[in-house]
């Protein structure tokens, strides 16, 4: 399905495509939220709730400052749970635009996919500042 561009910035606009788990609930049902979060409850996911953006159910991805819209029917009473599962699927898949920016722009060491994925590769160790073609440092 094509990407509808709106005034707001949403995840699929940033990515240039819509992801399958935005449209198919079966792709996120097996996400174990407790396993993916520190401690003995949902920890930071406790602050993640089902919201609405452009009239569509959505979850906010703070890594890319964008909304991730949800197009499938959400079972009654499971709004927050589904929002959290869609978000975590988005993050552990590395599809968040904020995660994709790390490879090129991260200036300090960090794990690419974030703390929710064990053994994620490191980024930011060898960052060099970009230099414009033809630019030379001033003599003084």
């Amino acid at each position: 399905m094509g990407v509808k561009h709106t005034v707001a910035i949403d995840a699929e606009t940033l990515a240039g495509k819509r992801f399958a788990y935005q449209e198919d609930i079966s792709l996120i049902e097996d996400i174990d939220l407790m396993e993916l979060t520190p401690g003995k409850d949902l920890n930071w996911l406790e602050d993640i709730h089902l919201l609405v953006e452009d009239g569509t159910p959505a979850v906010f991805d703070r890594n890319s400052n964008s909304f991730l819209k949800i197009y499938f029917d959400i079972p009654e009473g499971r709004g927050d749970e589904i929002a959290r599962k869609v978000l975590m699927k988005h993050l552990i898949s590395g599809n968040s635009y904020g995660i994709q920016l790390k490879e090129k722009h991260c200036k300090f060491h960090q794990v690419e996919l974030g703390p929710w994925v064990a053994d994620s590769k490191s980024v930011g160790d060898n960052w060099v500042p970009p230099v414009l073609d033809g630019w030379e440092p001033p003599l003084h």
Binding site: I9, P38, G39, N43, L51, H109, G114, P115
Partner: protein
């Protein structure tokens, strides 16, 4: 770069900037999945370099830092799930900007503990200074003693629990998240808060602008009991709930990008 030697043999930048040597000291004692760092003769940067080396490069998941000596900015910027224990007291800005670690501090801490924490938990056995949990984004921050002024200033998520009392302007400009203060709070509770919830067990000197009493619900009790059980804090006291009166609540009039700043 100008540098000076100290009695301990540690070299500092003479201008008061960072430790000029960027190499980790390689002094941690690693035993399988656990490691111990003795911070006695190490500068802040060396301690943090060693901590990051063993967590990121060596894959160690349980780190104990002994003799932190109230040095500032210890354990900052750890973006990986692991367990970190401080045997002693770190200073200011401990465990700031972390995303994932579960931290146990067997001591007290200075101001700005866990500022900007994204996820994980920090448990302090003693008291904490002012600005505890400043700009907290997520995770749990548990202080078993008192906390200072402006606890949870600009808090945007997560949970702060203090078993003791709190200073002035607790929850100042709070935007989301939850605070449980079991003791008394000083003047200006929840001043200019835009959202979030504050539970208080003791006396309140005065409420801040747009902070109003709320009604406890089943969800509130479930949340409080769950957190007290997880962190083995005993039975929660009788708590009063405070929330935003929404007189200042006008996000809908703002640009979409500004609205996102508080999500």
């Amino acid at each position: 770069m100008a540098s000076v030697n100290t009695k301990s043999g540690v070299v500092y930048d003479a201008r008061g900037l960072v430790e000029p040597d960027p190499e980790p000291p390689m002094t941690a004692e690693i035993d399988g999945d656990s490691a111990v760092i003795d911070a006695t003769d190490l500068t802040t940067r060396k301690i943090n370099l060693e901590l990051k080396r063993i967590v990121y490069d060596e894959g160690v998941n349980n780190v104990t830092i002994v003799n932190p000596g109230s040095k500032h900015s210890l354990g900052v910027g750890i973006l990986k799930r692991c367990n970190i224990t401080f045997e002693g007291s770190p200073g200011w800005y401990a465990c700031g900007l972390i995303d994932g670690p579960e931290v146990q501090i067997n001591g007290r801490v200075g101001w700005s503990l866990a500022e900007n924490m994204m996820s994980g938990s920090v448990v302090v056995e003693g008291p904490a200074g002012s600005l505890t949990g400043a700009a907290l984004r997520g995770g749990d921050l548990v202080i078993k003693g008192n906390v200072g002024a402006r606890t949870g200033i600009d808090q945007k998520g997560g949970t702060i629990i203090a078993l003791g009392s709190a200073g002035i302007n607790t929850g100042f400009m709070m935007q989301r998240g939850r605070q449980i203060i079991c003791g008394d709070v000083n003047d200006g509770l929840g001043d200019s808060m835009y959202d979030g919830v504050i539970y208080v067990g003791g006396k309140i000197a005065s409420l801040g602008v747009d902070c109003v009493p709320g009604e406890m619900t089943e969800e509130d009790h479930e949340f409080i009991n769950r957190k007290f059980e997880i962190y083995d804090l005993g039975t929660p006291p009788e708590l009063q709930k405070f929330e935003c009166g929404k007189v200042l609540h006008n996000y809908d009039a703002l640009e979409p990008s500004e609205r996102k700043l508080v999500l």
